[in-house]
Symmetry: C2
Subunit: 524 residues, 2 copies
């Protein structure tokens, strides 16, 4: 490592002192602890980070898009410059392979640069202009214009399963900073060193591009103390979170219980149903099994979009099931992100195995070992599935439940599912067309629909919806991946009767930024 | 009246039976009751309305925009056809003048037709297309497309102060129906007959245009029973409300306490601060007084955007205050919408008058009479104002508080205000430019900023934001007036790897609807 880790929070431009130890990282592969000991932010430090963010908001939110874009690009550059440190420390803290660390670093810097492009171009503000009609009858029409403006300081909670792309400088941070909101990040205890490496990269970028102090802080400490202090502080105006349903629900409760309730964007849990239509499973059952197995076991099954629930029509799928069993039975064990996640997976899988009516149809022959998990596939009848709400829950890890029934029963089951991030269907052309109502039912339960593909692999782009009805997320109207994520941290504001020179440049008649606008109802 | 009122709910295509009397309308000018007695929807009727709405959702949400547009236009036509009944019954129930009834009817039908235009044109869905790049390194890019889709059945609560434009077929209903959401309206007890006249117009329109049964229902009964039953039902996916802060907060609490929390769009209270800069008040104080007085007393002061708080710099405003006093002192009394509102206004105004440090500087000489209110203007020092949170609250009615202090003190007070629907500033060109930071401070507290104008008169258009930070509304990211209101009832959905014929027309390569789309990051 070329970087020496300090073990303290970043409060504005300074390092925190901390007081109580927040703990050390643990190498999930060995169970060994890693230096240094991280110190939790003190209540004073939390207050100072929030105060600085609140102060920075006016200046930061008034910066032109190109200046915020330069900041985001510089963050990406600073992260790229420490990719070796990230890979080394990250692999130790998460047990994810080096290639994944490098790939996720590229995704993270790619996200930052995508948001930089978006705000430099500028049309994302949804500028609307309607000019005055002083002679309109019965009343004159005033000049009125609107565009999106940032909400205020945002608290971001790091995810354990995306230690870069949904952590310190991940999607929530990138979209909030792009919108014009200062960000205070609560580090995840599973990868504190990685958080520090990335946090210091953000800090260098803020200094290099002259951002106001407080535009970014990084706090160590527990969710219950530091996290709740952030969510409950009146200056915080929105929350981004990726993690467990319990954690997300606790944040939602705290946020809605404030004197001023604020939005919480929590991505919580999803079993990502996959429906196999008879023709597809008959004609290419083995290929579907290979694809599903790869999707199930990617990153030890620790993706939000992991396919945990597969609907298979009665009388079909012999080759599919044969191939799936074959792959699962020879699958190696994999280290999970931390021991808590690993234990939770083993407990949930064991509960599924013990549930009456549930059959374990494939299980790796690999010996179960500490810190490591192996894939497992269960099967249940659709009627039994409908009776037992516990079978609808997420097994976070490489676990899959196959639900068998007639195609009619499967279609009738879709509306009974909880909200999902994704829903996938495999079918031949003719049978897809014949099952349009089933696809529509899936649409009502999910944020993203996939035909003849697999749910893992979330493209970062303009048309990605990585969201979905509750409880997949706390707010099914939003996405945490892709450029639409910026809208979460904004509200529209109207300017009525303003002289040209007092309007934001986005709304001036001469359109100095050359953005796409809605002018008197027409897209210009 | 050419219409005979039935006094029962509308449940899908049928009339409810009711059971318990929900009460009769009261003429607020006389205190006399009006026939017929309205019967509250029974729990079974509420369930049936919700069940029909849930059933209707699949069919209604799949209709092309032009078919939903035809339904909205037909509603407007059916309302226009009964404008005489509306005017006659509405004036009796609300004491609002006939011209207001006619004007508000025109606004209501105008809103419906504006949303019809919007969904017929179709670009509002924010269609985004990114085509596959099978050869991209390191991973192929899938074909992915997104657009807005409706949330599901919506519960709408009628407002007392906009018995047409924010009631049965008002802005919430129009925007939800436009989005593709069935609507169940809870009638307001102040204007049940008006609600029935409009509800039956909607019903005729639904039948004439072949809409699925359940796309619209209208329920009578109390907020506590019928209203809460709606908000707590799992099939309801969003709530629209305009009314008191207490009512809005109760709905927010119920909605966030559901197993599946849902969004509540509640427009609750706002004092709509007006800042007078010295130059403007010196050069045209009398004209500003006339404008503010007209805005304050419009509709007996019962507008959400009523200017209840005016900041006046020390040492300025002699002519302004003189004119304002003169106008207020000769102002006639006005009947308020109902006796509860009238009593609440008198109590709040009396509390203001009794608050230490608050001076009553203008009060109508008109004798106070039952059911009627007269305008009143108070004055307080800015330091005293900052000490007493009660002085920041809304006096719903023609009451105004003038806050005096130095310009520096006034600017420092803006961040201490609660969230507001509007904020207004009057200034000469040079002093407006010199007070950019004050305008920015106003921007952070309000949904709409007005220069040298008055806050009442909310233009229904594309760039209107009739929203604002909490507690002006429950969700400061939204607007309840104008075409952006449709976004409240939608979420975006992604389609990945879909064959052309399974995509919604909005997302097909040949763009059969000819809408504006974001294709591979470019506006087309």
């Amino acid at each position: 490592m070329t970087i020496e880790l300090h073990g303290t929070s970043i409060i504005g431009l300074a390092r925190g002192q901390g007081r109580e130890p927040a703990g050390r990282a643990i190498n999930p592969a060995s169970g060994n602890t890693l230096d240094p000991t991280y110190l939790a932010a003190t209540p004073d430090e939390v207050d100072r980070a929030i105060g600085l963010a609140a102060e920075a908001f006016a200046e930061y939110s008034a910066l032109p898009g190109r200046e915020r874009a330069a900041f985001l690009r510089r963050i990406a550059d600073e992260i790229d410059a420490v990719v070796d440190d990230i890979t080394e420390r990250g692999s130790l803290e998460t047990a994810l392979p080096e290639a994944r660390m490098q790939g996720e670093t590229a995704r993270t810097t790619g996200q930052l640069r995508l948001f930089a492009d978006l705000i430099e171009e500028g049309s994302w503000v949804d500028a609307r202009i309607e000019r005055a009609q002083p002679d309109r009858q019965p009343l004159p029409k005033p000049d009125i214009r609107s565009m999106r403006r940032p909400l205020g300081p945002v608290a971001v909670f790091c995810a354990s399963n995306f230690p870069l792309a949904f952590s310190v400088a991940g999607g929530d941070t990138a979209s909030a900073l792009a919108a014009g909101c200062p960000v205070i990040v609560k580090a995840h205890s599973s990868h504190p060193g990685l958080a520090e490496i990335v946090g210091r990269a953000v800090l260098r970028a803020a200094e290099a591009t002259g951002m106001p102090e407080g535009v970014f802080s990084l706090l160590y400490g527990s969710g219950r103390e530091v996290g709740m202090a952030l969510v409950k502080d009146p200056a915080i105006q929105a929350v981004g979170f990726t993690g467990s349903r319990g954690g997300g629900l606790a944040l939602m409760e705290a946020a809605s219980g404030r004197p001023q309730p604020i939005p919480v964007y929590a991505e919580m849990s999803s079993v990502n149903p996959v429906v196999l239509l008879p023709g597809a499973v008959d004609s290419r059952g083995e290929a579907i099994a290979e694809g599903l197995f790869a999707s199930l076991t990617l990153g030890a099954g620790q993706f939000c979009t992991n396919p945990g629930l597969v609907f298979l029509p009665d009388g079909h799928g012999e080759a599919f099931l044969g191939k799936l069993k074959e792959l699962v039975e020879i699958a190696p064990s994999a280290v999970m992100l931390n021991d808590g996640i690993c234990q939770a997976f083993k407990t949930t899988a064991s509960d599924f195995a013990d549930t009456p009516g549930v059959e374990t149809i494939a299980h790796s022959f690999t010996k179960q070992v500490e810190h490591r998990a192996v894939p497992v596939v269960f099967s249940v009848n659709v009627r039994r599935f409908l009776e037992d709400a516990d079978l609808h829950g997420e097994m976070f890890g490489p676990g899959m439940l196959i639900v068998r029934g007639s195609l009619e029963e499967i279609e009738a089951t879709i509306p009974e599912l909880e909200g999902q991030l994704t829903a996938t269907i495999h079918g031949e052309d003719a049978e897809l067309a014949a099952n349009a109502s089933l696809i529509e039912a899936l649409e009502r339960r999910a944020g993203r629909l996939i035909v003849n593909g697999f749910p893992t692999g979330v493209e970062v782009c303009h048309s990605m919806v990585h969201g979905g009805p509750f409880p997949a997320t706390s707010d099914g109207r939003s996405t945490s991946v892709g450029t639409m994520a910026i809208e979460r941290f904004c509200r529209s504001v109207s300017w009525q009767g303003f002289p040209q020179d007092l309007l934001p440049p986005e709304l001036r008649d001469d359109n100095p930024l050359g953005i796409s606008r809605l002018e008197d109802g027409k897209r210009v």
